[in-house]
């Protein structure tokens, strides 16, 4: 018998018992759909996170106080509490274009949460004490008004730039509020600008924020143990390619200033690449985890096929006996039943791909409707993986029933009622 004949006969036979075939296929459909949907969601999450990190800017570095995780609790007598904080002096040293030629701009920041109020409206938001370079480094643009300048810094002036969300909370609108005076922790601040809306980012919304001159924050709002202390230093490298070089230069400068031996840094230089790889690892594990769970349901579907094929072989013992009497060889019977089981799982795989695609699409629509920038991606690799895996499952779980059918003794099989 040719393969085409076996295929047609299998189709005929499955068609003859539609309900049972349908239910058997359902197991594979659910399994494949789950794999497709889960991988799509995982890939979508990865793309979404990667995208929002990339939007920060590709030549950005972050310097935090405190050593990298693996150094914590390292040498005796040294703990996170003994770390020297980053200071304004560190920031100035980094901006030295001779010691750090790969560094373009440096923006030291101190951050805290404060209550803002304007004629009875109150809100709490994150306040950043920043220098003029901050807006360039973080790529924040003003919708209206003027940025913080050197004059504001030197005069420790009480001026504030609001994020659009904060402005809307206080004023009900984000335009035409320049010159108004709001109170931060009871102290009056004049609004000099509003930033352009950016949407949610990897570090929370930048729209819900307020920026004041670094010196003002240092002196009046955000008290730190060390007067010169800063929380984060944002650094812009000259080019994206110079980022690793800049990281190296910054590390050397701060190591010298903090007098730390190499390998026990009390600070961390984080590049955007580090963020990307960290999140790629997290989402990769997530994707494998989800895919693995979905894979189990595919396996269960395969066992369902085996179960049904065994029942089918028993039920059709007499038919098998007859076919053998008419001259069917072992491999003819084997082919017949293997074709049936593979066809079952293949059909299940195809329907499952469509179904999984639909689920991914719906998840994307729901995310879009709720304003999240999240798009599940159905990859060609996921489709190939799940359909070929389901076909292999059909073959694998079909082999035992099919060989049982093929090895039936014709005399015994014919006598079976």
């Amino acid at each position: 018998m040719s393969f085409m004949q076996a295929f047609l006969e299998a189709l005929e036979s499955l068609n003859g018992n539609k309900l049972r075939s349908g239910l058997t296929v359902l197991g594979i459909v659910i399994g494949v759909a789950a794999v497709i949907a889960m991988l799509a969601v995982g890939n979508g999450a990865q793309a979404s996170i990667t995208g929002s990190i990339s939007s920060i800017g590709t030549n950005l570095l972050f310097v935090f106080s405190g050593g990298p995780e693996e150094n914590q609790g390292g040498p005796p007598g040294r703990s996170g509490n003994n770390d020297r904080p980053l200071t304004i002096g560190d920031a100035e040293a980094i901006s030295d274009s001779f010691a750090a030629p790969s560094v373009e701009l440096v923006a030291p920041v101190i951050q805290g949460n404060s209550g803002l109020s304007f004629s009875g409206e109150n809100t709490t938001t994150s306040i950043s004490g920043v220098t003029p370079s901050y807006f360039t480094v973080r790529n924040i643009e003003l919708a209206e008004g003027e940025p913080i300048n050197e004059e504001h810094l030197l005069g420790r002036m009480s001026v504030v730039i609001l994020g659009p969300e904060t402005a809307t909370t206080l004023f009900g609108h984000a335009d035409g509020i320049i010159g108004e005076t709001i109170r931060i922790e009871g102290q009056p601040f004049r609004v000099i600008g509003v930033t352009v809306p950016k949407g949610g980012g990897a570090f929370g919304s930048e729209d819900n924020a307020a920026y004041i001159p670094f010196t003002t924050a240092q002196a009046r709002l955000i008290k730190r143990a060390n007067r010169d202390q800063v929380d984060v230093i944002f650094v812009q490298a000259t080019t994206a390619e110079a980022v690793p070089q800049a990281a190296e230069e910054i590390s050397n400068i701060i190591r010298t200033r903090h007098r730390t031996p190499i390998g026990v840094d009390d600070f961390t230089v984080f590049t955007q690449q580090d963020f990307l790889s960290t999140f790629a690892t997290i989402t990769g594990v997530l994707t494998i985890f989800l895919g693995g769970i979905a894979g189990i349901s595919l396996l269960v579907g395969g066992i369902g096929i085996m179960n049904i094929m065994l029942v089918s072989v028993t039920e059709r013992t007499k038919e098998i006996g007859l076919r053998k009497a008419l001259g069917a060889r072992k491999k003819d019977i084997l082919l017949q039943f293997l074709t049936e089981s593979s066809l079952l799982s293949f059909i299940g795989g195809v329907i499952g791909v469509m179904f999984g695609w639909l689920i991914a699409f719906i998840v994307g629509q729901v995310a879009a409707a709720t304003g999240n920038n999240f798009n599940p991606i159905v990859g060609m690799d996921a489709i190939l993986l799940s359909t070929s895996f389901s076909a292999v499952i059909g073959l694998f779980f079909g082999i035992y029933p099919a060989s049982r059918a093929a090895n039936l003794e014709p005399v015994e099989a014919l006598r079976y009622e």
Partner: protein, 233 residues
């Protein structure tokens, strides 16, 4: 003589747990090409075993069996399948048609296993016309009467031009009138095509219509019974 079947000292022993059952205890006979033979015997006489062995569904434990010039006793499963396909046509008591297939599809089945790709439909059609079912080709078994179903089975048996047709109680599930029609059909096919016909039955009326009766008792041939009546006219 042109022998289509030569059986020498056929022995078949079944093992049922510890006990050995001798279904055939050394049976020898020959059947000439074109003969009509009935095999009779009470239940437990080895009748079914004889039919399974002659039909190449099973191998004898010992002895020699030559079917149409091929020694069958030592063949493996696939070789036996091939011999059944080419040389044996079966007609069963319960018809054994596949309900999913049409009459034509059922008759085509042995041709499929013969590996035939071309002219299959034509040969199947010709076989169905030969049994008088030219107008029922696309009907499925449940749309046919018992007699018609058995005719489809006969067409299936002869579609490969076999050397022998093995009929196991071919009229057992039919009423006497239809049974007679099927017997006449088989006998006519024998006359027209010269196909050797072996009928396993316990019905003396059927046996009367065959040229020769082989009686089995306790796995042995009843020598007096095997009378060669010669061709009926």
């Amino acid at each position: 003589m042109d022998w289509v079947i030569e059986a020498r000292d056929l022995v078949k022993t079944y093992k049922m747990g510890e006990i050995e059952v001798n279904a055939l205890r050394g049976v020898s006979f020959k059947i000439e090409r074109g003969e009509v033979v009935s095999i009779m015997g009470p239940s437990g006489s080895g009748k079914s075993t004889m039919m399974n062995t002659l039909g190449c569904l099973d191998r004898p434990t010992s002895g020699e069996y030559i079917l149409d010039g091929e020694s069958v006793a030592e063949m493996n499963d696939d070789q036996l399948a091939s011999v059944r396909n080419r040389k044996v046509g079966f007609v069963f008591q319960s018809f054994n048609l596949l309900s999913r297939l049409t009459a034509l599809g059922n008759v085509e089945l042995p041709l499929r296993y013969a590996g035939l790709t071309e002219g299959r439909k034509d040969r199947a059609r010709a076989a169905l016309e030969a049994v008088g079912l030219g107008d029922r080709m696309t009907h499925r078994p449940y749309e046919l009467s018992g007699g018609q179903q058995q005719r489809v089975a006969v067409a299936r048996a002869l579609v490969n031009n076999p050397a022998i047709i093995m009929a196991d109680e071919p009229t057992g599930n039919l009423d006497s009138k239809v049974g007679k029609e099927i017997m006449n059909l088989l006998l006519n096919l024998n006359k027209d095509l010269g196909t050797t016909l072996i009928i396993v039955t316990h019905d003396p009326k059927i046996a009367e219509q065959t040229g020769r009766v082989i009686r089995l008792r306790d796995g042995e041939l009843d020598p007096e019974s095997d009378q060669h009546k010669g061709e009926r006219s």
